[in-house]
Symmetry: C2
Subunit: 730 residues, 2 copies
Amino acid sequence: MRKLSSLIIAGGVSLTVAGCQPSQSPTAQGSVGSKKANVAASSYQGPTFEDDLNAAKVQLEAQMKLPITVPVPKDPGGGYTHEKHKQYATLIYNAGQIYKLTGEKQYADYAGKLMLAYAKVYPSWALHPAKKEQSPGRMFWQNLNESMWLLNAAQSYAAIKDTLTQEQRDLIETDLLRNMSDFLSDGSPETFNKVHNHGTWATAAVGLTGYAIGDDEYVQQALLGLDKSGDAGFLKQMDKLFSPDGYYNEGPYYQRFALMPFVIFAQEVQKNNPELKIFEKRDGILRKAIYTTIQQNYGGLFFPINDAIKEKGIKTRELVHGVAIAYDLTGDKGLLSIGKAQGRFMLTPESRKLSQDIVAGKGEPFNYRTMRLGDGEDGTEGALDIIRASEDPDDLVIVAKNTSQGLGHGHFDKMGILVYDAGYEILRDYAAARFLNVEAKYGGHYLPENNKFAKQTIAHNALVVDETSHFGGSTVLGNQHSPELGTFYVSDGLKITSAEISTAYDDVRMVRNVAMIDDPAFTRPVIIDVMTGHADTPHQYDLPFYYNGHIVDTNLDIEADTLIRKPLGTANGYQYLWKVGEADAGETSQITWLLDRSFYSVTTAVPENTKVLFAEIGANDPDFNLRNEPAFILRATTTNGARFVSVIEPHGDYNPTVEYTIGSHSQVADVKHFAGDSADYVRIETKTGAIVGLGIAKSMTEDQAHSVSVDGQDMVWTGPYKVFHSNGEP
Amino acid sequence: MRKLSSLIIAGGVSLTVAGCQPSQSPTAQGSVGSKKANVAASSYQGPTFEDDLNAAKVQLEAQMKLPITVPVPKDPGGGYTHEKHKQYATLIYNAGQIYKLTGEKQYADYAGKLMLAYAKVYPSWALHPAKKEQSPGRMFWQNLNESMWLLNAAQSYAAIKDTLTQEQRDLIETDLLRNMSDFLSDGSPETFNKVHNHGTWATAAVGLTGYAIGDDEYVQQALLGLDKSGDAGFLKQMDKLFSPDGYYNEGPYYQRFALMPFVIFAQEVQKNNPELKIFEKRDGILRKAIYTTIQQNYGGLFFPINDAIKEKGIKTRELVHGVAIAYDLTGDKGLLSIGKAQGRFMLTPESRKLSQDIVAGKGEPFNYRTMRLGDGEDGTEGALDIIRASEDPDDLVIVAKNTSQGLGHGHFDKMGILVYDAGYEILRDYAAARFLNVEAKYGGHYLPENNKFAKQTIAHNALVVDETSHFGGSTVLGNQHSPELGTFYVSDGLKITSAEISTAYDDVRMVRNVAMIDDPAFTRPVIIDVMTGHADTPHQYDLPFYYNGHIVDTNLDIEADTLIRKPLGTANGYQYLWKVGEADAGETSQITWLLDRSFYSVTTAVPENTKVLFAEIGANDPDFNLRNEPAFILRATTTNGARFVSVIEPHGDYNPTVEYTIGSHSQVADVKHFAGDSADYVRIETKTGAIVGLGIAKSMTEDQAHSVSVDGQDMVWTGPYKVFHSNGEP
């Protein structure tokens, strides 16, 4: 961050009247941390592996005093028998791991006892009384949970089997592990052979069992599918479920979940069949998948695209496992700062090593990067584009969702954007409408408003044509199309991505260019967002900005709905938005809001007769299911397409503690768009008269020359993009 | 916190299916910190005095290279000349302090140069062109700022005068320090002699000047008033402005501001006139005032009663000074954890010592306490009652505002309450409607909505009769009355306060009892709130709960305003509330909300025909000046008074990271009130059939016996209060 003002003086020491202080980067709750926190300290005092090991011991010992009561399966997810079986799985796993780590036999005994108790009853269990139609289990309502249970038990059995008698081993192997593995493999081919994340759980569980009991048949089926042809199974899933860049097409929230069986099983494959070089397959796809999951977080939480639960992030157990395994594989000291931010550890040797190296102060900042993550099996179905102002995880970030639909959990926000800064969401995504595990809220399931609002285009920072969602809100149609990508370009002063799609609407081709520019005319990097709908028929274009904060300034004359509020529309998500106010935009709309200690302005050159609508989520919501978040929506009605050219600008510093505010006004005086034959040009004029320009070619050819006439001056460049800095530097 | 459930198992180590984890107390941003943070670590790595000293040096050195340009006074607060003079004051102060601390003469030279530059021009300045009528300044628009400027300069002069020539000293003393002191004392008697916080600043500045230049006349005037009679001046202000408990009647936001000149000047008095024993006066009133300021914070931020800016807290410079001085006086190691949470230091020997002892790991947890802070000069004008569940600063806290009006910045919320938990506001106060220093928002001044909404009773968790504010919204009337206090009682299982007032409304006497009860029937302490309006004429009673979070459950059948919203009323603040929904309460209303990882339920036994209104702040707000926060309001219309008996209950644990939720439902099955002749009795029945009772006598006499018949059983006790625990223990 550049110096904000010459009026800023001594830090922390201003006495009474001249209370100016340099900006200190605020860090949001749960954040990965500021630069300072991101650098491992030499005398670490946070939680360690030993803490978690001791906590697990204490809790196991409490359980070991109680009788073992394996209940007959009865309840669906969340019910008593469901939770009890989950609890026992963790106890079995923990006890086995602790024995492996410490050699203390009481834990092995307890794990054995638990497995014997299950072996006694499991064979008698038919399908679960509350079974799910598609994928029934026996212990649980769905076999996904059964796979997870076995994944735990198999690892524990491997750890403790040497402590058992032959008779005990026979009982556990025959009546529990093989019985369950057979049910999950031959007994559930529709799951086991499916290239899908439930299949990964099933094959990993069965494969781990194979290693644990020494039966290679299970291992081969797990790796290659039931018929061992390789058309299904774990290796196939490694080929199909991640893109070559390690992106998972449902997004990071699901990627994190999918990751778990991959890394756990692959680790055992590596130990038992090192000749398979499993971690080198597809150019190290599993390692890449762990890294991309980390890259897709801000403030410790995953980018909440699609049906994500916003609270999920790097502290989830899947990624705690993943980071430890990746550190074991790579020795990358940047992972130590992620491990430190996670602050919890698994009962594994890898996690112990990670903790030891954190304590030893070996950590380095994680290498957060600006990156394009290609989507799709071959990386050809769009991309998630992440643009970061710097390696500081709390610095300005844009996420451009130029991805494919993302299957059933995908949202209809082609080329939508999210913006983060100073540890916060600045332009936010609603994510899923769901209160996970909160029974009173629709049993903890996705709420009806998830499909009706959260998935709809209007719930996102994405262009909506004629108040309908992309692909008419059809997932089937959405899954068939992905954006065509323009060049992803990264240099010191300019980071930019482009994408377009002509299939989301029948006769509107949408193009979005999103750039981050670092120029001396601004105290901080700014974002230039050019959203264009190309059409030659009449349409209405809505471009929402779900801003996070409190509006403090605008150039608009807003007519607010102060005495009566009504919904903004009647369908496609619009019925969930209250109309709060309305304004005519003139040529340029400028809105400034305050969030914590920073100001943010969006200054947009708009089509003629554009209106700005102010909205708040929460209409048609009788059960208070939705969060009441605000937005403003740029609305143009034209016969020949529409273009919104926005500068999204973080600025200023609001410091209530020492009572000063600087830079509360946008620096942008004017934004203008100029069209050339082969290219477009965006000109920003600041209030001090500085001019910053951005050239964007229509063709992405590297060596093509372009010229755009800007108020009589020809702006000339070669290649897809060109920033024209205010100081004339290249 | 008690164990929440036997299903909870190993921490941080659960692998996949049994993802239960013990609750970790979340810590809000800016919080004083969890128990862990509150205990000083042995190897501290946070900011130190040296960091701030070095930062101040760096910034001073940058300024020392620039020419000194003292501008002619012109702009009001926030304008260039205003800010420039403030800046120079800090530079003068810092340079002087650094010289004193380090002996590096370049800083003394710079401080001297700056003061000489001011001495050259100050005598020529008449009253400020933008002067405020009541209290004009010359350098600034009001003399308050001038006092602050002199307070800085006087301290610096004392530090550096030995480095100056006699000629330089004469110039600075005559043309700057004396000239300014004369203006602020004899020249501004209406401020200097007033028993008011502006008077404290003026007397402190003039008194410090007296010590700095060795003129006892200034010191005596400062201490005793212009005529040295003692009817005015600093000592009088010490007698008048704080209550005997060290409470300041405008509330902690203003207390913090008022504190500064008291502690700075008192320190010099102590050094120069130790015989005055200034820090022992009034039973150590200044030390008490520092401590009560600290006690009045949650999560590092002051209880935002009255016209408070919510972001202000313990990190403000006034309290950074105050804590260092208090530590110097008392050696209380609990202050080190406050200093650590402040994370910034002043350029004083006291602050340096504090920092050194933090670094040396001498800190202990600060002694946060349940306490009654009597209000008024004699402590007889009500009280601020603070009830804490434990010493953990992030634990459950109730603030009962049983204080006096608090002068012009007071809000009309007699006996309103605030509730905090887990680092957050749970039942919140709107505080001031103001964007401090944000020029675009009404010049940074109090917004019109401050008087029209934020001060009104309906903006608070306080009882509103007939949709009018307490005292008809008249500050003059409000200042004449304060609540009568009942006994403040603190024991292990019961902490309780009572208060009543019969002057806020013509013919309604309001009584509120607020208790915190710790009983085995609940996993955590719960709050019992009995709000009664006694009347024998028809009235409407509204009791708002400004809950913070998302409603997840209720026993009410809510008719939501899903298609149209209108304001709840037309006057006294009601016009700023949207009506969001409405329900009939039956006998008991129960509403549960979720905030971060905890659930909160309010279960209320209500009068017949009570309605529950759901509301959101933001109607009639064309400029988006208000925060859109939700509330529910219990509304009873009766002819003979109304009583709302609420259980406010923190419960459960929502953990999205490891995907479990426990205790999301209230434990309260029923709440009933029973009236006896001399006392009332509240009975809570939990869903597991446990019964907890609370007896509250009408008279607060210690030895009076009471009996209330509860469903045929006589509940008997002696004294004002009695909790009847579910396990029969006393």
